[in-house]
């Protein structure tokens, strides 16, 4: 008798586990992680049928009903997919991804423009827009203050650079991304070791002036892309790495020009 109960309990536990797995798979399908036909609905229904006589508690019945509901959602998605595949919009996602890689930017833009009919609208000045504008002007220093800080230099006129030049300079492409990721990890390690915001100058200071400028340049990307936060406390500038970066530029962000003296 005892043996039977034990076996029964095991089956009940296994049943709950299986139902939870069915629900998780259905949820993943709904979130477009898998193709709707990834799940054998018939097998899922048979699983529900197999364990149905064992359910004794209210929660078990709720779980059963929830799993059935999820399975019906998968059937609906399968139906939508079949209809979609027979429509003009159907294309294999991987094929589209490859096509996107191969097509030139100009051609892709033309494809978009030929099927784009933008909305016509007139923007008006609203209270909210006026308030945003006022905040911006209030944050700006008077023009005299801003001009005082500006030194003239007769440098070379700006020129355009193509993608290959940028890759050659190490400020674009895979190498550039790898450097940024490495720098973010280093900042995170320094922060974890100090348990406090990292001093900007300590972090960017390298052996040579060139290396310092280069590191400061990469740090500016970390801040812009939301992988680190720059804090200004009087004269002191600190960096705070963001553990789960949002990949979004901070809202209401401001530009902070930092001069790097040659002795730095």
């Amino acid at each position: 008798m005892e043996k039977k109960t034990k076996a029964g309990r095991q089956t009940l536990a296994a049943g709950r586990k299986e139902l939870k797995e069915v629900i998780e798979t259905c949820d993943a399908i709904e979130r477009r992680k898998f193709n709707p036909f990834f799940l054998d609905v018939k097998l899922g229904v048979e699983t529900l049928r197999e364990y149905f006589p064992l359910w004794a508690e209210f929660q078990d019945n709720c779980l059963d009903a929830h799993a059935l509901n999820r399975l019906s959602e998968v059937v609906r998605l399968q139906n939508t997919q079949l209809k979609f595949q027979s429509s003009a919009l159907y294309a294999e996602p991987e094929f589209i991804a490859k096509k996107f890689q191969r097509m030139s930017e100009k051609r892709l833009a033309e494809v978009f423009l030929q099927s784009w009919h933008p909305i016509v609208e007139l923007e008006q000045l609203t209270n909210e827009a006026v308030s945003i504008g006022l905040d911006y002007w209030n944050l700006l220093l008077p023009i005299q203050e801003r001009w005082k800080r500006r030194d003239y230099s007769r440098g070379k006129n700006p020129e355009s650079a193509d993608s290959n030049t940028l890759v050659g300079l190490g400020i674009h492409g895979e190498k550039f991304e790898a450097t940024l990721t490495q720098l973010w990890k280093t900042l995170m390690e320094t922060y974890n070791a100090e348990k406090a915001p990292v001093d900007y100058w300590k972090f960017v200071k390298m052996e040579s002036h060139r290396e310092t400028v280069e590191r400061a340049y990469f740090v500016s990307f970390l801040v812009t892309y939301g992988f680190a936060k720059m804090q200004l406390e009087g004269e002191r500038i600190t960096l705070l790495p963001i553990e789960n970066p949002t990949n979004k530029p901070a809202e209401g962000g401001v530009s902070v020009p930092i001069a790097i003296p040659s002795e730095a």
């Binding site: 979130r31 477009r32 992680k33 939508t80 997919q81 209809k83 979609f84 429509s87 003009a88 919009l89 159907y90 294309a91 294999e92 996602p93 094929f95 589209i96 991804a97 096509k99 996107f100 890689q101 191969r102 097509m103 030139s104 930017e105 100009k106 051609r107 892709l108 833009a109 033309e110 494809v111 978009f112 423009l113 030929q114 099927s115 784009w116 009919h117 933008p118 909305i119 016509v120 609208e121 007139l122 923007e123 008006q124 674009h172 492409g173 895979e174 550039f176 991304e177 940024l180 990307f221 892309y225 990949n247 979004k248 530029p249």
Partner: protein, 190 residues
């Protein structure tokens, strides 16, 4: 009602309708059906038809957009409960590359948007954000891809829910002729 009175009555309604459609009042441009019914009157559909005829001479048209709340692409509208339709004025024809640049679009951003929209359409209108970023990143790099997807989300061409699933935004559904885009994308030469 005399002929002159009828003409002025319609002219007044046309003006009210065009003001509602063109001037942005809330978060989205255009006007909802109930607004038009309230401000223009019960015969607003007739007024819309009349306005459409006038606008077509200017290469513009009125578009009525009904969309399912989930933002997914569906072939049959009957099975899904639709949100209240919204009316917009859109360009009837299309723009050239130079014109697009003049209104503030970069060519690389437009190209990335094409890829993101086409990929989402191929995935039936929804895909995890990381998948969309991966596709864009293969051409533009990971860092730029994240920024580009943000731009598209802010502009309303894409939408993202709390679970990080991206879908086609209201602007894409209103402005982009998806079957034409997909046909050109699949046929398109490099």
């Amino acid at each position: 009602m005399s002929e002159n009175e009828t003409k002025s009555f319609y002219a007044d309604k046309l003006k009210r309708a065009v003001h509602l459609l063109v001037f942005r009042r809330g978060k989205l441009p255009g006007a909802k059906e109930w607004e038009l019914k309230e401000k223009v009157g019960k015969n607003y559909q007739q007024v819309m038809e009349q306005l459409n005829t006038i606008l077509s001479e200017l290469d513009l048209e009125i578009k009525k957009v009904s969309e399912p709340p989930s933002g997914q692409i569906t072939e049959s509208e009957e099975t899904v409960q639709m949100n209240e339709p919204r009316y917009y004025v859109t360009l009837k024809g299309s723009l050239g590359v130079k014109e697009a640049k003049m209104i503030g679009w970069r060519i690389d951003n437009l190209a990335a948007l094409t890829g993101a929209i086409a990929y989402l359409v191929a995935k039936q209108g929804k895909a995890p954000r990381e998948d969309v970023e991966r596709v864009v990143a293969e051409k533009y790099g990971r860092w730029k891809a994240a920024t580009l997807v943000d731009i598209f989300l802010r502009a309303g061409y894409l939408e993202e829910d709390d679970a990080g699933v991206t879908s086609l935004g209201w602007r894409t559904k209103t402005e982009v002729n998806l079957p034409a885009l997909m046909t050109k994308m699949t046929e398109g030469r490099a």
